[in-house]
């Protein structure tokens, strides 16, 4: 891992915003991103040296418990930072650094390249406006005629499985169930034909059958449009079922990353293993879920060593004083001082 305290000086606009998306440039790259609140507001950074990649057509999972920084990481990709936050590192979408992009660059990014779907569909729509207006807004801003925009909106509603798309355009959000409204929100996110979709717990508020349908829709759309997706969830079973690769976050740091199947079969970080053990399983003979003892690290605490040490069954003295770096291994990477010892085997 690179030094996280490196200077904040940035090359201004060194990459033209219009640069073509060539296949060598990752769709999304976070490189050593650190995000701090103003002095006194927090004892540790919200994001601490986070690096991750999403390629075109890939689904990448970001998992971790509440408060670990998943949503902040997502919002950073859109250039939405907490007030007065300071950042170091780079967030590049198709090569363009988001953190140094000006207002015009950010507008282009949000309008044409990246869309986000949030957990609660009701919070992302204006309850007073018809679904049709909500869906066509972005298209109209992009210069499309009203007629064409409505036709496109209807097409998208059909794609996300809304049966009477014409009728749906005239209806208000409260006339939809949670699952149906989340489809509308996904349709809206797709109006710009984004290269990257940020899905921040898009199915957490839905029941399991509806969740399956919504995920099915996301996957189908992704296959046809080649969209890359960063999928945030705390449900490891869900992440394993849909993601190509998973990043595990703890207290603002990536503590493990690995192809989904491998992470599931053989986690190397004790936190990942603990998270797996706390997931209730349906398989016959499955052990009851085991809680992780203790509580997560708050922003007011800045542990000197490994942030998970206080809750870790394998922690030794060294873990409380030395901060483990994320070290690459055969299939991924883990940030644990004892990973070499095969403590989880």
């Amino acid at each position: 891992m690179a030094d996280t305290t490196k200077s904040t000086t940035k090359k201004k606009n060194s990459v033209p915003a219009t640069r073509a998306a060539d296949s060598a440039t990752p769709l999304l790259a976070l490189d050593d991103v650190t995000l701090r609140l103003p002095d006194g507001a927090a004892a540790r950074p919200i994001l601490d040296g986070v690096s991750l990649r999403v390629e075109r057509g890939e689904t990448i999972g970001l998992v971790g418990e509440s408060g670990s920084g998943k949503s902040v990481a997502c919002r950073t990709v859109l250039g939405l930072l907490p007030k007065n936050a300071r950042t170091t590192g780079e967030v590049r979408v198709e090569g363009t650094d988001v953190l140094t992009a000006g207002p015009a660059g950010l507008r282009d990014l949000r309008r044409n390249k990246v869309s986000m779907v949030f957990q609660d569909p009701r919070a992302s729509v204006n309850p007073m406006r018809r679904v049709g207006d909500f869906l066509t807004e972005g298209l109209r801003l992009g210069g499309m005629s009203k007629k064409d925009a409505l036709a496109r909106a209807e097409e998208l509603l059909t794609e996300v499985g809304i049966r009477d798309p014409k009728g749906a355009l005239r209806r208000f959000p409260h006339e939809f169930s949670g699952g149906m409204l989340q489809r509308v929100v996904i349709a809206a996110a797709l109006t710009s034909d984004p290269a990257l979709l940020l899905a921040d717990e898009p199915t957490t508020a839905l029941d399991v059958t509806t969740q399956a349908e919504v995920v099915g829709i996301l996957r189908r759309l992704q296959a046809t449009h080649g969209t890359g997706m960063l999928f945030v969830t705390h449900d490891l079973e869900l992440a394993a079922a849909i993601c190509d690769r998973i990043y595990v976050m703890y207290a603002g740091r990536i503590v493990e990353s690995r192809p989904a199947a491998e992470l599931f079969a053989r986690p190397r970080h004790p936190y990942t293993a603990a998270l797996l053990a706390s997931t209730p399983r349906l398989e016959e003979g499955a052990e009851p879920p085991t809680a992780i003892s203790g509580r997560p690290v708050s922003l007011a605490e800045a542990p000197t060593g490994c942030a998970f040490a206080d809750r870790c069954a394998f922690a030794v003295d060294r873990c409380r004083t030395e901060k483990p770096a994320l070290v690459e291994d055969g299939t991924g990477a883990a940030a644990c001082l004892r990973v070499e010892e095969g403590i989880l085997a």
Binding site: V208, T210, A212, P280
Partner: protein
């Protein structure tokens, strides 16, 4: 604990602690709950599962007394509670017997009242015999039981995490010394590690107190680990019920199969789930 209740014995043991028979509720021309019957044995745990809109919450609300049934009967310890209470004492006794914990306790906790006072309030209502020192001791005991410390005791709900708020809601329910606790999606909003803590807490409380649980959820993986029996609701009707282990390992109804297949895990296939859902519609 002050008064551990024995799960077995008592005149109603054979009859079941909570008996629901032919429960119905219609909204407009929509039958939200349609002829629902089940039994919760003393100290038992029954799950109510079904997709969104299947009538789980409406059933729960009728049992607590937040919603009046159109028909059917609900008894706890043999006493009917579907009818209007005759007087204040009866209303209080009913309120005390059955306590409910909701998905988001933030909405059900008064934002201006600190945790300690919130518990004290319940004790004043349901355990006036305790007196002030007795209440103080009981509040401390309840906080300890749900794993909350002194800092949390003095805090307002907004200063607590989701998991801590859910502990407060459970402590508040326990303060009434109920015989039945209804948990409506009580762990659905919590992330898995906190969810596991609350599930462990609930298991311990059931073991120690012998309180019966009615556990409402759409997540069968959770239901598997916290209930003995399960009732599967679809469009307000029971399509299947039985021992949780049996229903999950050998579901008899296609809808139960669908709910099981929907839980993410090895072999999870969203396209197939969507297909079977359409086939059932």
């Amino acid at each position: 604990m002050s008064k551990p209740k024995t799960p077995q014995g008592g005149p109603e043991a054979a009859a079941g602690l909570l008996e629901v028979r032919g429960l119905c509720r219609t909204f407009g021309d929509h039958k939200a709950v349609d002829d629902v019957s089940f039994t919760l044995p003393p100290g038992g745990s029954v799950g109510i599962v079904g997709e969104s809109g299947s009538g789980k919450t409406t059933t729960a609300r009728m049992i607590v007394g937040l919603e009046r049934p159109d028909g059917g009967s609900i008894t706890v310890g043999g006493r009917e509670r579907a009818s209007r209470p005759r007087n204040r004492a009866e209303r209080l006794a009913r309120a005390r017997e059955v306590q409910m914990v909701f998905q988001d306790p933030y909405l059900s906790l008064d934002p201006r009242i600190a945790v300690r006072d919130c518990l004290d309030e319940v004790l004043r209502l349901h355990a006036p015999e305790l007196g002030k020192p007795g209440r103080e001791a009981r509040v401390a005991e309840l906080l300890d039981q749900v794993g909350l410390g002194a800092r949390e005791a003095g805090a307002l709900p907004k200063r607590l995490s989701g998991g801590q708020r859910q502990r407060v809601a459970i402590a508040r329910a326990l303060a009434a010394n109920p015989r039945v606790m209804i948990l409506d999606e009580a762990v659905a909003a919590l992330d898995v590690s906190i969810q596991a803590q609350i599930l462990e807490l609930l298991a311990t409380i059931r073991r120690e107190e012998g309180i019966g649980y009615l556990f409402v959820s759409h997540d069968l993986a959770v239901v598997k680990h916290i209930t003995d029996d399960v009732v599967v609701l679809r469009n307000g009707k029971i399509v299947e019920s039985g021992r949780t282990a049996d229903v999950l390992s050998a579901p008899q109804h296609a809808y139960t199969r669908l709910l099981i297949d929907s839980v993410p895990g090895p072999g999870w296939d969203p396209e197939r789930i969507a297909e079977s859902r359409r086939a059932l519609a």
